[in-house]
């Protein structure tokens, strides 16, 4: 394929993408400004933009953002520690892998969101129930990937290192860890994404503070324009966090 045609394709597909977004915003504007769609159902994009600027300028989002990020950090820290430790110990024996891996994978297929009412009962409406749900949901991809990373290192590397007299520590540092690291990182990224989702979700369903709570609060007050602005804000924050995580994963893998 020629370079010229390739470039022409790229420009064409880019223009479709841009056209799609422009058409969407234009329809949105026309619909709300001229065609009489209710302000409560769909606010005018100009209003949403004004609200967004107001939110960012006033710093009103800060307490909620802090709550959500603290919950996320706590949940992710717990599930990382527990998941990697447990995964490592299970992966040390093929027998334990055979016993525990199907068990964990089975649990993984239960929609963890079902536990939210239980967690609200146990830990209350505050951050406790959010941290618990975020931990539960992110634990499984992390532990399963840790098992997959450490447990399925090619036998020939281990035999080679042993026969050349590697100590346990050397084995871990130079054979097991480099082999397992990329797989574990993928697990961490998956865990991070679902933990963020779970925390936003549980804040939406039952909470006292946090970004999800703020959106619901505005929805119930029918302040749709401000709600749209907050939705945009949260989507951008989530996208930034997830992009940061994927970039970290890619860079660490390349080394």
């Amino acid at each position: 394929m020629s370079v010229r045609r390739d470039r022409r394709d790229k420009i064409a597909s880019l223009s479709v993408q841009v056209g799609f977004l422009v058409a969407l915003v234009a329809l949105w504007y026309l619909g709300t400004a001229y065609w009489g769609i209710s302000r409560i159902l769909l606010p005018n994009p100009v209003n949403v933009w004004a609200e967004l600027k107001d939110i960012l300028a006033s710093g009103e989002y800060l307490p909620d953002l802090r709550v959500t990020l603290t919950e996320l950090a706590a949940a992710f820290a717990i599930s990382c520690t527990a998941g990697i430790t447990l995964g490592f110990f299970i992966s040390r024996s093929p027998y334990l892998i055979k016993v525990f891996e199907p068990l964990l994978a089975g649990f993984y297929s239960v929609p963890v969101i079902l536990f939210l009412p239980l967690y609200v009962l146990f830990f209350g409406l505050g951050p406790g129930s959010k941290i618990a749900l975020g931990t539960t949901i992110s634990f499984f991809p992390i532990v399963l990937n840790t098992i997959a990373g450490f447990g399925y290192v090619d036998k020939i590397f281990i035999t080679a290192a042993r026969s050349m007299g590697a100590s346990d520590f050397q084995m871990f540092r130079y054979v097991l860890l480099p082999a397992a690291f990329p797989v574990i990182l993928t697990g961490l990224r998956m865990g991070f994404t679902v933990a963020l989702l779970a925390i936003l979700g549980s804040e939406t369903i039952a909470s006292l503070a946090g970004l999800g709570h703020r959106i619901v609060h505005l929805a119930e007050a029918m302040e749709t324009a401000r709600m749209f602005a907050y939705i945009a804000f949260v989507v951008v924050i989530a996208a930034l966090l997830n992009t940061a995580m994927s970039t970290l994963e890619r860079r660490a893998k390349r080394r």
Partner: protein, 259 residues
């Protein structure tokens, strides 16, 4: 050989047996902890939960709520499969639409849709339609992405061979693309089912007037852990069963492919 050694050997030979033992130990721990240490307004032992399942189904409204939730799941899944398959094929089969539309789809797939849950309630009301719509919004993207990936993974040599032997567009679709799509289709269905479960249950828990979300909230506020645990177990069983059906289908229809 002593009894002890024989037991050990049985466990070593059958990991499934050990798995069962682990589960029994966990349930026993839960039973003991719940009976001895924890306040019964927060946690009940599994034996009591099991015993009260009959009571739970006799509670007015619960069977209806479970039926509503099941139909929400089924309808949302059916709609997701139809839309996901159509869009996935349309996007995947043309190089141009793939390059121009796929980034938009991936962008939408990557956004945390939970943030727009209040909008779904605003547009579709608090009844089943909002749950179905939210389930569909979670279900279609994994299906689209899987189908597109599946279409792209068809070896070009097969297409070229079919072409050079004079196959028409429809024939290529019927004899090359379609058989190759079956495993992908079921893999997409499995992921779609997980998404639909998440979406419908999220929406149910968020606001509900007659579905299971109403009852989980009722039991939480009334501090009735026995009934709450029972209801959650029944739902988990339903979710596992639905997941298992699509997973079995995936294995069953994917077995002809040996590579």
């Amino acid at each position: 050989m002593s009894e002890h050694l024989r037991l050990k050997r049985a466990f070593l030979r059958h990991p499934g047996l050990a798995r069962l033992a682990v589960m029994i130990v966990l349930f026993a721990l839960w039973e003991i902890v719940a009976r001895v240490w924890i306040d019964p307004t927060f946690l009940s032992p599994p034996s009591r939960v099991l015993a009260s399942l009959g009571d739970l189904f006799d509670t007015k409204g619960i069977p209806v709520a479970l039926r509503i939730t099941f139909w929400e799941l089924a309808i949302a899944f059916a709609i997701s499969v139809v839309i996901g398959l159509t869009v996935g094929l349309a996007v995947g089969l043309s190089r141009f639409s793939n390059r121009s539309l796929m980034p938009i789809i991936l962008l939408l797939y990557g956004t945390p849709q939970i943030t727009i849950l209040p909008l779904f309630i605003l547009y579709f009301g608090i009844g089943p339609p909002s749950k179905i719509a939210f389930g569909v919004s979670h279900g279609i993207f994994p299906i689209i992405v899987t189908i597109v990936a599946g279409v792209q993974n068809i070896k070009p040599i097969l297409m070229t061979a079919a072409h050079s032997m004079g196959a028409r567009r429809w024939q290529i679709f019927r004899w090359v693309i379609f058989p190759h799509m079956i495993p992908t289709f079921f893999a997409g269905m499995r992921l779609g089912m997980a998404g639909v479960l998440l979406g419908v249950l999220l929406a149910e828990l968020y606001v509900s007037t007659a579905g299971i979300g109403y009852f989980t909230q009722l039991f939480t506020q009334a501090f009735e852990p026995t009934k709450l645990l029972g209801l959650v177990s029944v739902l988990a069983a339903m979710a596992i069963a639905l997941n298992e059906i699509v997973r079995r289908a995936e294995v069953h229809f994917g077995r002809w492919r040996t590579d």
